[in-house]
């Protein structure tokens, strides 16, 4: 059965690039443009993994992650941050908030695939 990945990014271009890579990795892809929309998608679709941007309108990636932790979901998705915030302080903050992995943009297919393997969804 194909795994599902929710791509959360306010940039349509980034979502399109990520979708293309993820489909070659045989994921079913859904999209959200901000953290609040992502939270709604998690409640409705129960994705296996979330690929999460940091800076977004309405609700940022880190706010989404904290909100996700408060949700009573049957199945908590793995969360991989995928952001241009590449400083060590941001990375530590993401891990402390419950992110399972971290990808610094720019990235390529192999990097993404290796991260999915690390969180056990590939």
């Amino acid at each position: 059965m194909m795994k599902t990945c929710l791509v959360v990014d306010d940039s349509k271009v980034i979502r399109k690039v990520a979708r293309h890579i993820l489909e070659t990795l045989e994921f079913t892809v859904t999209e959200a443009g901000d953290g609040q929309e992502a939270l709604d998608r998690c409640r409705a679709d129960s994705p296996d993994v979330v690929l999460l941007d940091w800076n977004m309108p309405v609700m940022s990636g880190i706010e989404f992650l904290r909100a996700l932790g408060q949700e009573a979901l049957d199945h908590r998705p793995k969360v991989i941050f995928c952001t241009t915030e590449n400083g060590i302080a941001h990375i530590r903050a993401a891990i402390d908030a419950g992110a399972d992995e971290y990808v610094m943009k720019p990235f390529d297919r192999e990097t993404l695939e290796s991260k999915f393997q690390l969180v056990g969804v590939a």
């Binding site: 590449n86 400083g87 891990i95 990235f107 192999e110 990097t111 290796s114 393997q117 690390l118």
Partner: protein, 284 residues
């Protein structure tokens, strides 16, 4: 930019003579990209002109640099992570039990490129201090490329390299961020050593309980591959562990190794059954 078939043949012959590696047709596209920096540096007017300079012998270092550029240095941390889990829980554990008396473990990463595989091994060990307490452990990385070995020793990786395969928790624990690069910690560097080594022309750099030779042998001809398997076998005790790349196998390539029946995905030396005594002796 065009490169003539003649120049490709010259490069292929040079590469095979020095390294044993074959320049498969599928890799021809890499030649121009790999040699373009050298061409610009030497202000050669064409690829063919560059090849002429390389083979003229006017600069002895030039052919070394061209070969180095043609080698595939592709590697990353925890490449094929399932294989490393297998090595850790099965292969290393078997050796740990077998060497309990001496508490000495030697690991060789043959064809280690820029060092990610060697540091992966060091992390596996360092993460389990209690399990390996009191052990003397050597992790040796070798590669044909002096340039790759220099980078491996330095242990500094770009943002792109650091996140290929490396769990973020390991990155935070074992590396320091220096501007846009990541420097491996001193305690990990102290666990490993690197040296240049040619699998084809030099004897192995010692005896090793565990050997990793991953995504290297595929570039060799069948004959050279067999020779290298023999060299690796000579560097291992009977109960040693061999780990190949995820898509590689010993089957059909060598009689020196067999699949480890206790641990599929790893290999061990074939223990040749003693020859049957002649019938007349057996009858006595």
């Amino acid at each position: 930019m065009e490169i003539s078939d003649g120049s490709v043949r010259i490069l292929a012959a040079l590469l095979e003579a020095r390294t044993g590696q074959q320049l498969a047709h599928a890799r021809h596209w890499r030649i121009e990209a790999a040699l373009r920096p050298l061409m610009a540096e030497l202000q050669a007017v064409s690829m063919d002109a560059l090849i002429s300079k390389i083979v003229s012998g006017e600069n002895a270092r030039l052919s070394d640099r061209a070969i180095d550029a043609l080698l595939n240095h592709e590697t990353f941390f925890f490449r094929d992570i399932a294989s490393f889990r297998l090595l850790d829980t099965q292969g290393l554990e078997r050796i740990r039990v077998a060497r309990e008396a001496t508490r000495r473990l030697r690991i060789w990463s043959a064809g280690c490129s820029t060092g990610q595989e060697v540091y992966t091994l060091a992390m596996l060990i360092a993460d389990q201090r209690e399990r390996w307490r009191g052990w003397s452990i050597d992790i040796v990385g070798t590669d044909l490329s002096a340039q790759a070995i220099e980078r491996a020793r330095e242990g500094r990786y770009s943002q792109f390299e650091i996140q290929r395969g490396l769990p973020v928790v390991q990155m935070l624990r074992r590396f320091d961020q220096i501007e846009r690069e990541w420097q491996v910690s001193d305690d990990l560097r102290a666990m490993v050593s690197f040296r240049t080594h040619n699998l084809l022309s030099s004897p192995p750099p010692g005896m090793f309980d565990v050997v990793l030779c991953r995504n290297v042998l595929l570039y060799f001809s069948a004959e050279v591959r067999g020779l290298v398997f023999g060299r690796i076998a000579s560097a291992m005790p009977e109960d040693g562990v061999l780990m190949l790349g995820a898509g590689e196998t010993v089957m059909g390539h060598t009689d020196h190794f067999v699949s480890d029946y206790e641990c599929r995905g790893l290999y061990r030396k074939r223990i040749h059954a003693p020859l049957r005594p002649p019938v007349e002796c057996a009858a006595r």
